[in-house]
C-alpha cells in the first residue's frame, strides 16, 4: 500500500489553514528531516519530524511547546497481543507524526454506521512537529511476557528520595507514551488514539498534560522560564552536543542489553511547586536559591546567561557567591563528577488544590544513559541539600527504558521480541 496513493490527509483537506503556522515555525525546524510521504507538499512537510531513525524522535528533537504524557499498564498476559499492539501503534505513529489520520480517511470516511476510525479533533491541524516516543517500565520485565532476561540493569526501580511525597496514582507503568507537539490538541489526539487502539491490551494508569517547555534541547532555542520565573535549562545537553549525547544519553550494546543500543532511559517526575510561598520570597532570596539572576539568567557572579558557572568564586568573608545549597551548584556537572542529563520537562497547572493554591509545577522529563550513575546521584544531592526543596515537592515518579528508533519497516521495541 502506497502512502501517497491512499493518503487523504487532514492536511490535504485542510492543510493550507496551517501553512502560516508552519512557515512561522520553519526557522526553529531547521535540521528536522522531511517526511518522505509528504515531500511533494512543501507547505505541509515543514511541520513534520521524521519518525524513523537510529534514535526515537522526541529526545533531541527541539522541544515542542506542548506535551501529553501517558503511562499505561498491560492488562493481558498474552505476549503476542502485546507484540501486535506495538506494531499497530508504530503504524499509527508513522501516520500521525506525518500529519495523517490514524487510519486512512478515518474521521469521516468509515461509513455512517460505525464509529469513526480517527477521533477527528486534529483534522484541520498541521502535523505540528508531533513526536511520539515510547518507553518500557521496569514492571514490564516481570514474568508475564517472558521478558525478565531482557531487563537492562540501568532500568532500576527508582529509589524513594528524601522529601518525596509520591502519589501512587501518579507513578509507575508498564509502558509510556510521550507525545510532544506545537499544538496541544495534536498531542492529545495522538495519545487518545493510541490509547484507543490499545483497549483490551493496555489501560492508562496515569497521565499528565504539560505546556511551556521548561528547557531547550537545541542551541537554536531560547532558554524558557519555569513557573518560578527562572531560566532553568541553560546547562542542558543540547542536540548539538554530539559528544555529550554519545557519552551521557545514548545506550550502547556494551551497556548490557543489545536491544537497547541507540535507546535511552527516561525519568519522569511530577514536581509540585509551592508557587504562593515562592512568590513571597524576596528577589534576593529567589536568586540565592536558584544560583542565577532572574533577569538575564547569568550565574551569580557572572554577567551573561551562558557564562560558565564558577563554583569557586567567593564574596565577602569568602562565602561562595553561589551558595552551597543553591540549585545550580548541586545540579551542576562540576559538582557531580561530570554527570549531565538531557532535560525535556514541561510546566503544568492542574487547576487548584482545594485550599486555594495552584496545583502547579514542573513535569520533569529527562533522558540519560545510566540512571544509576546520572539522575540518581543528582537527585540525591538535590533532595537532601537543595534550598529549593523548601518550595517544591516530588509527587510522581516513573522510569522507562526508551528503545532505539525504528526503521521504515520495523516496529517499536522489536528487539525485545527477537
Amino acid at each position: 500500500m502506497s502512502e501517497e496513493g491512499t493518503r487523504v490527509s487532514r492536511r490535504k483537506l485542510f492543510g493550507l489553514a496551517g501553512a502560516g503556522v508552519a512557515l512561522a515555525g520553519a526557522g526553529a525546524a531547521a535540521g528536522i528531516g522531511i517526511d518522505k510521504a509528504t515531500s511533494g507538499n512543501a507547505e505541509a512537510s515543514v511541520t513534520t519530524v521524521d519518525f524513523h531513525g537510529e534514535h526515537q524522535a522526541g529526545i533531541v528533537t527541539p522541544a515542542q511547546a506542548n506535551l501529553h504524557f501517558a503511562a499505561l499498564d498491560v492488562t493481558t498476559k498474552d505476549r503476542e497481543k502485546l507484540r501486535q499492539l506495538l506494531k499497530t501503534w508504530t503504524d499509527a505513529a508513522r501516520r500521525m507524526t506525518a500529519g495523517q489520520e490514524v487510519v486512512p480517511n478515518g474521521a469521516v470516511g468509515s461509513g455512517d454506521y460505525a464509529p469513526p476510525g480517527d477521533t477527528g479533533e486534529a483534522l484541520d491541524l498541521p502535523a505540528s512537529h508531533l513526536t511520539l516516543t515510547i518507553g518500557f517500565g521496569p514492571s514490564l520485565f516481570d514474568g508475564r511476557f517472558g521478558l525478565a532476561g531482557k531487563r537492562p540493569p540501568q532500568l532500576i526501580d527508582l529509589p524513594l528520595f528524601p522529601k518525596d511525597k509520591l502519589d501512587p496514582a501518579r507513578g509507575g507503568g508498564d509502558l509510556c507514551i510521550q507525545a510532544c507537539a506545537d499544538d496541544p490538541q495534536v498531542a492529545v489526539h495522538a495519545v487518545r488514539n493510541l490509547v484507543r487502539l490499545g483497549f483490551g491490551v493496555t489501560e492508562v494508569r496515569w497521565s499528565q498534560l504539560g505546556f511551556g517547555r521548561s528547557s531547550s534541547t537545541s542551541r537554536e532555542q531560547q532558554t524558557p522560564r519555569n513557573l518560578f520565573g527562572f531560566k532553568d535549562g541553560t546547562n542542558n545537553i543540547k542536540s548539538e552536543d554530539t559528544d555529550f549525547l554519545r557519552d551521557q544519553v545514548w545506550a550502547t550494546a556494551a551497556d548490557g542489553q543489545a536491544w537497547m543500543a541507540g535507546g535511552s532511559y527516561l525519568v519522569a517526575r511530577r514536581i509540585r511547586m509551592h508557587i504562593e510561598t515562592w512568590d513571597r520570597e524576596t528577589l534576593d532570596g529567589q536568586q540565592q536559591i536558584v544560583g542565577r539572576t532572574k533577569g538575564t539568567g547569568a550565574p551569580l557572579g557572572q554577567t551573561a546567561e551562558f557564562d560558565e558557572l564558577d563554583l569557586d568564586v567567593g564574596g565577602a568573608g569568602g562565602e561562595p557567591l553561589i551558595p552551597a545549597d543553591a540549585h545550580v551548584r548541586l545540579a551542576s556537572h562540576q559538582a557531580l563528577n561530570g554527570v549531565r542529563i538531557l532535560r525535556r520537562g514541561y510546566n503544568f497547572v492542574d487547576g487548584s488544590d482545594g485550599v486555594g493554591h495552584l496545583e502547579a509545577g514542573l513535569f520533569f522529563l529527562a533522558f540519560n544513559r545510566d540512571t544509576r550513575k546520572q539522575y540518581v546521584p543528582m537527585q540525591q544531592a538535590l533532595s537532601s541539600k537543595d534550598a529549593m526543596m523548601e518550595y517544591v515537592q516530588h509527587t510522581g515518579s516513573a522510569h522507562f527504558a526508551v528503545p532505539p528508533g525504528v526503521s521504515r519497516t520495523g516496529y517499536w521495541g522489536e528487539g525485545l521480541f527477537a
Binding site: P162, K163, D164, K165, H274, E276, T277, R280, E281, T282, L283, D284, G285, Q287, Q288, I289, T293, G295, T296, A298, L300, G301, Q302, T303, D307, D310, D312, V313, G314, G315, A316, G317, G318, E319, L321, P323, D325, G354, V355, G356, H357, Q380, S383, S384, A387, M389, E390, Y391
Partner: protein
Amino acid sequence: MSVRKSPRTPLAVVAGAAALVALTACDSQGSTGNETAAAGGPIKVEATDTACTVSATTAGAGNVTFEITNKGTKVTEFYLYAEGDRIVGEVENIAPGLNRRLIVEVADAGKYQTACKPGMAGDGIRGEFTVTGGAAKQGDANAQKAQATKSYAGYVANNTAALEEETGKFVDLVKAGKVDEAKAAYARTRTYYERIEPVAEKFGDLDPAIDVREADLEPGQQFTGFHRLEKDLFVSGLQADSPQIADKLLTDVKDLVAKSKTFELTALDLANGAKGLLDEVATGKITGEEETFSHTDLWDFQANVDGSKGAITSLRPLLQERDAALVSTLDKEFANVQGLLDKTRAGEGFKLYNELSQDQVKEFASAVDALSEPLSKVAEVVSK
C-alpha cells in the same frame, strides 16, 4: 518541620550581583590616573608562580571585576582583602592555563590588597589596591533596629529556657516508660521549639537532629529527635533505643540553647524569620505533614504564629514609624488567624489535625495566605 530558612547571606554581595549589569558601565567613574581600570573593563590579573601582576591598582567603588589568568605551573587562588585581611572576594582552584573571573561589590572607599596564592598556600603575593568614591556605610547601627534585636533576644531567651526545662521533663517521662504522660507532654514541649525555629535553623546540624521528619531523612541519616520519639510514643511503641534517642535529644537541645545565647541576629533576620514561620505553616502544617504520628499539628501552628508575632512585636516601633498601614494590616490578619485557631481549641490544647474538616483546612490556608502576604513585605521596610 525542619526546613532551612537560612538568611541568604551575604546580602550586600548578592545585591551586587543582581545590579551588575547596570553597574559595570560606571565602575570606575570618578577615578583618575592611567593605572585605573578602564570604564566597564575588567582588571586583568596575571598570576605566575612568583608574580601577581594587576593591570590597575585603583577602582571606583561599586562592582569591580578581576579577570585572572594563571600562567604559572601551580594551581592558584586570587583574593581581594580589606583592612585586617577581611576577605572581600576570592576565587579558588585556578588551574594552570585557566582564566577565571571575580566580580565583587566594594561599597567603601579605602585601602585594599590583592593577592595571588600559587600552590593555594601562605599569605600570597600581595599588592596595594585603592578604592575611590564609595557609598556611606549602612548597617544595623540604627537605634531602633538595635532595640528590636535586643527585645527579640529576650523573647528567644525565655523560650529556650522553657524548651530546655520542658524537654528535660519529657525525656524523663520517655525514659521512665510513662507513655501516656509523655504523649501528653509531647506537643507542649515542642511549642517552645517551634516558636524560635528560625533561630534553631541557624545552627546547621542541630535543627535536623532535633526536628527531622522521617519522610525527609537522607540516605544514611539516623532518625532522631522529637519526631522519632513521636513515632515511638504514638505508633510503634517504645523501642530498645528510645532512651538513648531521648538522651541525645536533650543533649542537642542544651547545645542549641547554649549556642543561641551567643548568636547575634539582625533586624532583617527577624523580618525573614517572621515570614519563614508562616511559610512553614503554609507548606507543612496546612497539609498535616509535620506531626504524622500524633496529629498535633495545630500546637505547632499556634507556636509558629506566636513566634512570628514575637518577631513582629520586636520590630513594631520601627515598622510603625516607617509603614503604619502595614502594621495595622498585620494586626488584623494575625487576629484573623488567631480567631480560627481559637475555634479549634480543645481542653488545654487543640483538636487533632485529622479531626478538621476540609472546609476548616481551607479556611486556615486562606487566612495564612492573607497574613503571609503583608509579612513578606516587612523585610523590605526594615532594610530601607
